[in-house]
């Protein structure tokens, strides 16, 4: 150690410190490299590389085996071997020929070069000559001569070249002929082995075992830190989208998705059984692949799934765990943490379909999105839209029954017990529970709640108007009623008993919950009321969606008798607490105190008797709880819905959701789920006056149902980033959506299959066939189609516009008279009817220009006779299956077909032609026989009619059908339609 003059510190010591510091820094700089180099996605890609090799090897082996087993291929191999030998023996070694060819080639090249130069000279001379003539530059004569001589020389040369070429070709021909067989065979082999060769090439490129030593080293070196700047095997893969953007609020920028950097097998079906992140997308038909509806290159990933597209790590991609278990797992595996700084975290797997709603919000249902549809249907059934404004359900009718005549239907006791706990009476009712919930089940609140219910019931009954029930036939047969309920199709919209709790609700189930489940009616109301309701539901409840079944008096009575037999005994035994005037005073004071100063309120209270107090506070309470949102209640005609609008709920900022003191995941879906599960629980541990408490009732949804509803709510977003991808708002699309809306609103899909979905009623028809028609399982299966309401596929193409319009308005035409299920009469207005007719036509592309003239359906006498013949049993025997007026066919009902006398008005003439020609093409699987075999059309028709001209035969048959008149039929189509601007509230505005 030395210290030097003119220096303070010991240099040795400084050197030592410096050395330590520099070494430390060196290590840290190395660390910087390592940290930067060490990226998870690189590991994934390396791992994927081994999987790729594995998959390629399997394919390769399979191909190889296939080739080995392929006799033709083996034969080809031997042939090639032979040909090779041949070639070697006969074609190789012919040196003289080779020499000759070579010489000729050289000559040709020389000549060609000469020609090229001469041509160039000629062109130049030509230009000089032209210039001399045109611009008077130089001597035209001399230049012309020059040009001529070059041109002549070029001509000669050209001929010489051609001659040489011919000679050369002759020689090569000889050579080629010799090897022709071999080339041919080899080409054949290549064709057979092409698949194997592709895999082989791939293996060569990626499998280190296939490589030589230097290449193996190169594979390692190219991925080393720093050197990986040049050509690394691992790379960030990204999709940059043109039409879908990332939202920068002020501006939109092309979306960048890098998910495929780790999700490497997403578009390759070979990886469907591999672990994440390599796994194939589960639905390649719809997504990701190039020929799907949503190819990856156009849609990316995060537009549907959410998350941060630019991310290249698990954490920054904002993956969201499905449940607690996965969360813990991720924490362990990926050190996952919740990221509250990204407004659109990835949807947890079970809510993925929320993303569909961004673009498909106008559709009913959204095809392929089962969970989302279920959620939307629950929202429709539960009537969420009544309290919470939703653009999609604007102008939908109120979901609950009319209460303006409640006294004629229910007793006060029933009403009390019902409000207290609707699910006790009927466990699957859509009426939600308002009492005994998280924030009002303490003793004080319960006592108060009892008096609140008294007050509301009192108000309802005090305001109930008189309602005369129509007189019911004295005699009624309950058994007959039961059969009617089963056969008419009531079970399309109602159930006879609630579903088992142990199976997850499906979209089909919900269609059958369109109306209330038919239990306990005997306890609830009188059979007279049920009779009156069945005869004309609109009389009691003008806006009801319950259609008129056109029941005869006796039918209605029988059904009423049957339905009211079921009673709810424990419900009857429930006791009702008496009035507690103190509490009623409190409640009344609370509301009075809001309207006037306290002293005047007290004075006012003193002047009121119990009934007045009950009525006053009942009205106020109905206003508070928003009962009027779902029910028509007198005095609340113009009241506003009490909930918040949900149209943008999914894009609400997380911090706007008050989690209170509830311990659930601080995520949007966590909050929504909790809100549905225990709507009032966010009041827990909060000190609140009765008037401040949360009001949302409990619908007692199952976990599965909640999941579906949460999916929908998450989907309720406004998103500008997809505006270029949303279905264009063309008139056609709008018409379709409007039609779909009515179909959903009226539950048409419960009976009919529309756009490939629905016909839920068929299950109950099978039940009916078995229970009442004595059919066995297989028979029921066979008869099912005939006894079910028709599939409406292609209805727009088939059915005459006017007829359809009239039918929908007043469907008492019996197209299929054998059907027991009855198309009911709906209270459609003109707007609705037009929408529906337009819908079916638009769906089949029928309302497009150009308009064609109506086809000529006249027949000459001769044609008429021929047609009659064709129609008869002798030839086609149409009436073997088809009803013609009042003539019914002879066969069993499963073969019966619609009334042909209706064809003239009901069917579009163009359609009939197509239909007769090839029914299977229009409705695959139809019972209608194919008389004219499309594969051998020319010879399919009867040869002795109209000279065997099939087109003519079909035409006259069609025209013949148009002559059949329904004169023998019982009823006619009535045309009496309410105008669209009549006072049916709501209904008219839906269809402007």
């Amino acid at each position: 150690m030395s210290k030097e003059p003119e220096s303070h510190y010991s240099i040795d010591k400084l050197h030592f410190i410096f050395a330590l510091a520099a070494l430390a820094l060196l290590v840290i700089v190395g660390g910087v490299f390592m940290k930067d180099y060490d990226r998870k996605w690189k590991d994934y890609q390396k791992k994927f590389r081994t999987y790729e090799i594995e998959v390629a090897r399997t394919t390769y082996d399979a191909e190889l085996n296939e080739l080995n087993d392929d006799a033709a291929y083996q034969e080809l191999l031997t042939e090639i071997e032979k040909a090779e030998k041949d070639y070697e023996a006969n074609c190789l070694g012919n040196d003289a020929l080779e020499q000759e060819i070579e010489d000729l080639e050289t000559q040709k090249i020389l000549k060609e070069q000469d020609l090229k130069y001469t041509n160039a000279e000629r062109d130049a001379a030509k230009f000089r000559y032209e210039n001399a003539v045109g611009h008077h530059v130089g001597d035209p004569k001399a230049t012309k001569g020059e040009y001529k001589s070059f041109a002549d020389r070029a001509k000669t040369l050209k001929r010489e070249v051609e001659d040489l070429k011919v000679a050369l070709a002759a020689k090569t021909e000889i050579k080629a002929k010799c090897g022709k067989q071999l080339t041919e065979l080899e080409r054949k082999k290549r064709r057979i082995t092409s698949e194997r060769d592709i895999v082989e090439r791939k293996l060569d490129a990626i499998d280190p075992n296939q490589m030589d030593f230097t290449n193996r080293v190169a594979q390692m070196v190219r991925d080393l830190p720093i050197l990986d700047l040049s050509t690394p095997t691992t790379e960030v893969k990204q999709i940059v989208l043109k039409d879908i953007t990332d939202d920068r609020i002020i501006r939109q920028v092309p979306k960048v998705d890098r998910c495929i950097t780790c999700h490497l097998g997403i578009d390759n079906p070979a990886y469907k059984d591999f672990p994440q992140p390599y796994k194939t997308h589960p639905n390649l038909d719809q997504y990701v692949s190039n020929d799907s509806a949503h190819p990856m290159e156009q849609y990316g990933c995060t537009v549907c799934h959410g998350g941060r597209g630019r991310a290249t790590s698990f954490q920054t991609a904002v993956h969201t765990p499905q449940n607690e278990e996965q969360k813990q797992d991720w924490k362990k595996k990926y050190n996952w943490k919740a990221d509250h700084h990204w407004e659109e975290p990835m949807y947890p797997l079970q809510y993925t379909e929320a993303g569909c709603f961004k673009c498909h919000s106008g559709e009913y249902p959204i095809k392929g999105a089962e969970t989302l549809n279920l959620g939307l249907q629950i929202i429709e059934r539960a009537g969420c839209y009544a309290c919470h404004e939703l653009e999609r359900y604007k102008d939908w009718p109120k979901p609950g029954p009319d209460l303006t005549h409640i006294a004629s239907k229910l007793s006060k006791e029933f009403a009390y017990k019902w409000i207290e706990d609707p699910h006790f009476f009927r466990k699957d009712t859509w009426m939600p529970a308002y009492y005994n919930l998280a924030n009002n089940s303490d003793l004080m609140s319960m006592a108060r709640g009892q008096q609140e219910i008294h007050a509301m019931v009192n108000y309802l009954f005090a305001e109930s108007q008189d309602f005369n029930l129509s007189k019911m036939p004295r005699k009624a047969n309950a058994e007959n009623g039961a059969e009617l309920v089963a056969s008419l199709g009531c079970y399309a919209c109602h159930q006879s008993k609630p579903l088992d709790g142990d199976h997850d609700v499906t979209n089909d189930d919900l269609r059958r919950q369109h109306g209330p489940t038919l239990t306990g009616l005997g306890t609830k109301t009188s059979k007279e009321w049920v009779y009156d309701w069945l005869k004309d539901p609109n009389r009691y409840h003008p806006e009801t969606r319950m259609p008129n079944m056109r029941l005869s008096d006796q039918e209605a009575a029988d059904i009423a008798e049957h339905l009211t037999q079921d009673t709810h005994k424990t419900f009857v035994m429930k006791s009702i607490p008496g009035f507690d005037e103190d509490i009623i005073n409190d409640i009344t004071m609370e509301f009075l105190g809001k309207q006037m100063p306290k002293t005047s309120a007290e004075k006012k209270l003193a002047t009121m008797d119990l009934d007045q107090k009950l009525k006053y506070s009942g009205e106020k309470l109905i206003g508070r709880y928003g009962c009027y949102s779902c029910h028509n209640i007198k005095g609340f005609d113009n009241a506003k819905p009490i909930g918040i609008a949900l149209d943008e709920e999914g894009s609400k900022a997380l911090h706007k959701l008050d989690f209170g003191y509830v311990h659930v995941d601080h995520t949007k879906h966590g909050w929504f789920d909790q809100k549905l599960k225990a709507p009032r629980s966010f009041d827990n541990h909060k000190v609140k006056a009765p008037g401040e408490k949360l009001l949302m009732p409990n619908f007692r949804l199952s976990a599965h149902e909640r999941e579906a509803v949460v999916t929908s709510i998450l989907g309720f977003v406004t998103d500008v980033t997809v505006k270029n991808k949303i279905k264009p708002r063309t008139p056609e699309n709008l018409q379709l959506e409007k039609g779909q809306e009515i179909i959903a609103q009226m539950n048409c899909r419960s009976c009919h299959k529309i756009e490939g979905e629905g016909a839920t009623v068929q299950d109950t028809i099978v039940d009916w066939l078995k229970a009442y028609q004595g059919k066995t399982d297989s028979e029921a299966e066979k008869f099912l189609t005939s006894f079910s309401p028709p599939d409406l596929h292609g209805a727009g193409k088939k059915i005459d516009i006017e007829w359809l319009f009239n039918f929908l308005h007043s469907p008492d035409v019996e197209v299929r008279p054998w059907l027991e299920a009855r198309m009911p009469t709906y209270k459609f207005n003109v707007g609705h009817l037009n929408t529906l007719v337009q819908y079916f036509n638009t769906l089949d592309g029928e309302d497009k220009f150009p308009v064609n003239p109506k086809p000529d359906v006249s027949l000459t006498d001769h044609e008429y006779k021929q047609a009659e013949k064709l129609f008869s049993l002798e030839y086609l025997g149409c009436n073997l299956c088809h009803i013609v007026g009042n003539e019914t066919p002879t066969g069993t009902q499963d073969t019966w077909a619609p009334d042909l006398t209706l064809a003239k008005t009901r069917l579009k003439p163009e359609w009939i032609i197509e239909w007769i020609k090839d029914p299977q093409a229009l409705v695959p699987g139809t019972n209608m026989p194919t008389f004219f075999d499309p594969s051998d059309y020319e010879n399919s028709g009867a040869p002795d009619i109209l000279d065997g001209d099939e087109d003519e035969q079909i035409r006259v048959l069609r025209n013949y059908l148009m002559t059949l008149t329904p004169d023998k039929r019982k009823t006619k189509v009535k045309v009496e339609i309410p105008a669209s601007d009549t006072n049916e509230a709501g209904a008219s505005e839906a269809t402007p």
């Binding site: 003119e6 303070h8 910087v32 920068r248 002020i250 501006r251 920028v253 890098r258 630019r310 991310a311």
Partner: protein
């Protein structure tokens, strides 16, 4: 540099004799004599800021804390990393956020951003501590009053640099911090719309201080923190303020020497 044969020249020694080496390193190779040690300070452009000799206390870390020097070093780090960041950063509403995201997601050694950001914080701290040390040693006392003022100005500039840089990632943190700051500017007396006397600069009914003509607008180039503000802050951060800072640094360093070197007891 072996010691076996003193007459034998090592390669290093030979290299020192070449014309090229001598052209570059005036002082010559190994600085092994006191004369050379003096010369190296005099001859080197970077070192000539220092005097050749110093009183001993001025060399002691105990006295100086090295904070001034480190502030300058951190400034250099910020300059270099800042320039490198400009390769990947575009100051537009569309790209700013994505480019910053990409620094951590795909740009190799995007750690540059971390270094830049933390160095910015560090610089504020070192400058404060430098000021604290200068105060505690009474180094602002005559004849160094002016250099103290320059120092305060540099401190303000440091914070402004940091403040303008805060907006550039264009995330929530950025725009709201700047919004809070910009609204203070709006409260400037007389020339801010929300400041006292905002209506003083008026002739008749025509008010000359309004939403698009006040202190806040001058800062943001708009009514709120938007595209214009981003480009303004970017230019200030990358060109305007560094330039001013450079000027004041030159003065600061120059005055350190001219005021008699680092302070000390007289």
């Amino acid at each position: 540099m072996s010691n076996h044969d003193p007459n034998k020249e090592t390669l290093f020694q030979k290299m020192q004799k070449t014309q090229v080496f001598r052209a570059i390193f005036r002082t010559g190779g190994a600085i092994d004599t006191h004369k050379k040690r003096v010369l190296v300070t005099l001859n080197n452009v970077f070192l000539h800021l220092h005097p050749v000799r110093l009183p001993k206390h001025a060399v002691k870390v105990k006295y100086t804390w090295c904070m001034g020097g480190l502030s300058f070093f951190v400034f250099l780090v910020l300059t270099i990393t800042g320039i490198l960041l400009m390769f990947y950063y575009r100051p537009t509403v569309e790209y700013a956020y994505g480019d910053v995201t990409d620094l951590s997601e795909q740009v190799p050694l995007g750690i540059m951003r971390e270094i830049h950001r933390w160095a910015a914080h560090l610089m504020v701290i070192t400058v404060w501590l430098h000021m604290f040390r200068v105060f505690m040693t009474g180094s602002y006392k005559p004849p160094r009053e002016f250099n103290w003022i320059v120092g305060v100005i540099l401190l303000i500039l440091t914070m402004l640099m940091s403040f303008t840089g805060y907006l550039l990632p264009w995330d929530q943190l950025a725009i709201w911090a700047i919004t809070v700051g910009a609204n203070m500017a709006a409260a400037t007396p007389v020339i801010g719309t929300a400041g006292p006397g905002a209506s003083l600069l008026a002739i008749g009914d025509v008010n000359f201080v309004h939403g698009t003509a006040d202190a806040k607008f001058a800062m943001l180039g708009g009514r709120f923190v938007g595209e214009a503000a981003l480009i303004r802050f970017y230019v200030l951060h990358c060109i305007g303020l560094p330039f001013v800072m450079m000027l004041f640094m030159i003065v600061h360093f120059w005055r350190v020497r001219k005021d008699g070197g680092i302070s000390g007891p007289t």
